[in-house]
């Protein structure tokens, strides 16, 4: 919980960008967009679980 999750998301972002770029060069444009979409979905799932934990702690702490 901390810096490594930020680095993880940054790595996934850079990776999807590179993969999309490579696929674009080799002419498979649509697979590139699919790869970018997949990367985005993975990151969204991670971010959602993180926000879920945050809301959980706030709910218990401020006794909502």
């Amino acid at each position: 919980m901390g810096v490594e999750i930020i680095f993880k998301i940054a790595a996934i972002g850079i990776l999807t960008a590179v993969v999309a770029q490579i696929l674009k060069q080799t002419g498979k444009e649509e697979i590139g967009t699919l790869a970018t979409l997949a990367g985005l979905i993975i990151v969204l799932v991670m971010v959602l679980s993180l926000i879920g934990d945050l809301f959980g702690t706030i709910k218990t702490m401020f006794d909502f």
Partner: protein
């Protein structure tokens, strides 16, 4: 004391990561700043818990109405979350949406504060020599 260094460090790292990714993938940059905000908030929450327990113990000793106090904490929570999400929206470029969330948060807080206002009115009315 070293908590502040951790917060500043994570804030800086998040800014730089978001900056790197902004030209390449703008949506990832926004997600990174969001995650950085969440991480900092989680760190701050742990220090707020003992502040809240201190306030609770003081409230019991002074006989303040516990129910009102928990309402005050709920309002603080609402303000906390609204400001967090509004700044994320403003950061992502949709400042109008952030302002609307702030407006919504203010209204929710006003509605939650109605019992406090009524109890104050009752106390004031008792004081007045009717």
């Amino acid at each position: 004391m070293e908590l502040i260094f951790k917060i500043i460090g994570i804030g800086m790292i998040t800014c730089i990561a978001a900056l790197i990714l902004k030209p390449v993938r703008a949506d990832f940059a926004m997600l990174i700043s969001l995650v950085g905000g969440v991480v900092i908030l989680v760190m701050i929450l742990s220090t707020i818990t003992n502040a809240i327990s201190l306030i609770n113990s003081i409230a019991e000793r002074t006989g303040v109405n516990g129910e009102l106090l928990s309402l005050v904490f709920k309002i603080i929570g609402v303000g906390y979350l609204t400001e967090f999400s509004a700044s994320i929206c403003a950061d992502a470029g949709s400042a109008g949406l952030g302002d609307k969330m702030l407006l919504g948060g203010k209204i929710v807080i006003m509605v939650m504060a109605i019992p406090i206002i009524t109890s104050i009115m009752n106390i004031v009315l008792e004081l007045l020599p009717s």
